[in-house]
């Protein structure tokens, strides 16, 4: 995981990046129905009707269907940002100003040795002032715009979408129509009646739960199927040939 420092003006806080979410989706392997071998993806060339080995695969930018501009890994590397060890805060902003549509992926920032005091100070002050630090940050050859935020005494970092990634919402909101005062009142009352504290634990991913139940039930009812062990080892060849080869191998190896 990434280690580095949060810095601004004269402050430098050593931190480690820690995952804050783990997608809860249950994933499945694809298997060959015939023998339950797990399947692999391969790149296929429809023109030559054959699997293309990795050393024959290059990248092309599609200019139009069937017209490409080949781009090499070296060229892409030459425009990648330098690796960096700092989360350099450029501005502090009001957290409320950030439209949630910009939030992408959250991480926790864990304090490293020697930075605990400054870490707590920054977390506490940002919490009280409801501010977030806006920073640039390089991870795995990509530069991210991130918000450093305070989260219950801890610091967290949320990667943000760049503005060109966010699609315009024009045309979504309906044309202005006159709203009746009575109707507005009624709507406000309904909402007030249903208002609760946000408690994410109250809501569960129902499909996930059902899938887990299904898997547990199946596990009780039937034995799992086994993939063949090292398919290449199986069926070494015709028995005569294998025996002859084994015999010869012994001789070859025992030769002085």
């Amino acid at each position: 995981m990434w280690d580095g420092t949060i810095s601004f003006s004269l402050v430098a806080i050593p931190v480690r990046l820690v995952k804050a979410v783990k997608p809860g989706r249950i994933t499945f392997r694809t298997l060959h129905r015939a023998d339950y071998s797990p399947l692999a993806r391969r790149m296929f060339c429809p023109e030559h009707e054959q699997i293309v080995p990795p050393d024959e695969i290059i990248r092309g930018y599609e200019l139009a269907p069937g017209r490409y501009l080949p781009v090499t890994d070296e060229e892409l590397e030459s425009v990648s940002p330098e690796r960096s060890r700092t989360i350099e805060i450029i501005d502090f902003i009001d957290l409320d100003e950030v439209d949630p549509v910009y939030f992408d992926h959250p991480y926790y920032l864990a304090p490293l040795k020697g930075g605990e005091k400054a870490y707590r100070l920054l977390a506490e002050v940002m919490r009280r002032t409801n501010k977030a630090g806006l920073a640039k940050f390089v991870m795995v050859e990509r530069e991210y715009l991130v918000a450093v935020v305070s989260m219950e005494g801890a610091l967290a970092m949320i990667t943000l979408h760049y503005s060109e990634e966010v699609l315009p919402d024009n045309g979504i909101a309906p044309k202005e129509a006159k709203l009746e005062a009575v109707e507005k009142k009624r709507m406000e009352r309904s909402i007030r009646n249903m208002t609760a504290e946000f408690d994410p634990a109250k809501y569960a991913d129902l499909r996930r739960e059902k899938v887990v139940d299904l898997l547990n039930l199946k596990m009780k009812e039937q034995a799992p199927v086994e993939a063949p062990v090292l398919e290449e080892e199986e069926g070494e060849g015709p028995a005569d040939l294998v025996a002859a080869l084994e015999e010869i191998m012994r001789e070859v190896k025992n030769k002085p």
Partner: protein
């Protein structure tokens, strides 16, 4: 664009861009390329003859993009011989490099590398040789391939088979076992070579793997038995390779391979175009037996 017209055996050919550097680091030009294949034609043509030719073309030299061409380019001269082959459900027309003029015509297309199947176009399911493609993984080298080849030689001799090694022209070796019998199929050669590869792996687990996976190949030689397939091609003996220098896929004598392995001298196993031409002049086609020697796979 500079053009030069030549005539070979009554066939007219227009050559272009002769001064273009195809191996820029050593100044090897299109003219040098044509000269190499022209001088090599007597030795390489028997190995290309009547086989579906795959061109690996480097129009702007080895440092630039390349592409494979399996179909015979549509604009080919009328005198280029072709064959119809089926790939899967599709038919396609391929070139047969059956004479010097055709060889030079494909070289004028900057086809630095020539690849051919193990079977002839007219009998696509009948390999006339079985091949052991020895490919060193990371941390292994051509001498490790040599060690594996020498064990294969021992093993073959006890099966009354003779194998013929050549360099791949890159980092590996290819050992050809000529068969030249119409009843042998790719199923046979695949089954046989796979059994050999697996038993080699069992007995020399630190040196050999029969598995394609990269992590299995580290420090070991991968015996790629799956090349014994109607849909696969191998770089033709005497073809150049697209590396920093024009190295050749060149036949080796077993003795010479033994010496290189004993002496720990990998450099002897990288043969340049100039050395290749010199050796051909002195010793002729070391791979000619691969085309004529009849051998039967035992225990099948």
């Amino acid at each position: 664009m500079s053009r030069t017209a030549i005539e070979i055996g009554g066939k007219r050919l227009s050559l272009s861009n002769l001064e273009k550097e195809l191996y820029p680091s050593c100044g090897f030009t299109k003219a040098n390329l044509l000269e190499y294949y022209g001088q090599m034609s007597g030795s390489i043509l028997p190995h290309l003859k009547n086989r579906a030719l795959t061109l690996k073309r480097y129009p702007d030299g080895v440092e630039q993009e390349y592409f494979f061409e399996k179909r015979c380019p549509v604009h080919h001269p009328a005198w280029v011989q072709t064959a119809e082959v089926s790939r899967g459900s599709k038919q396609m027309t391929v070139c047969l490099a059956n004479n010097t003029a055709t060889l030079l015509w494909v070289e004028n297309l900057a086809s630095l590398e020539l690849h051919v199947p193990l079977a002839r176009a007219a009998s696509p399911e009948t390999p006339d040789a079985m091949v052991f493609d020895l490919d060193p993984g990371e941390g292994a080298d051509i001498l490790d391939c040599g060690r594996v080849a020498l064990v294969l030689r021992e093993l073959f001799s006890r099966l009354r088979l003779t194998g013929y090694p050549k360099t791949s022209g890159q980092k590996g070796l290819h050992v050809f076992v000529p068969l030249n019998r119409p009843e042998t199929t790719f199923d046979d050669t695949k089954q046989f070579s796979k059994a050999v590869a697996i038993i080699m792996q069992k007995n020399y687990p630190d040196l050999v793997t029969a598995k394609m996976a990269k992590e299995q190949r580290r420090g070991r030689v991968f015996i790629n038995w799956s090349q014994n397939d109607a849909s696969k091609t191998m770089v033709c003996v005497y073809s150049l390779r697209a590396r920093e220098k024009p190295y050749v896929s060149f036949p080796l004598e077993w003795k010479e391979l033994e010496l290189a392995v004993k002496g720990g001298n990998p450099a002897r196993l990288h043969i340049t175009h100039a050395e290749a031409l010199g050796r051909i002049k002195a010793a002729g086609d070391l791979f000619r037996e691969v085309l004529v020697k009849k051998q039967k796979l035992p225990h099948l």
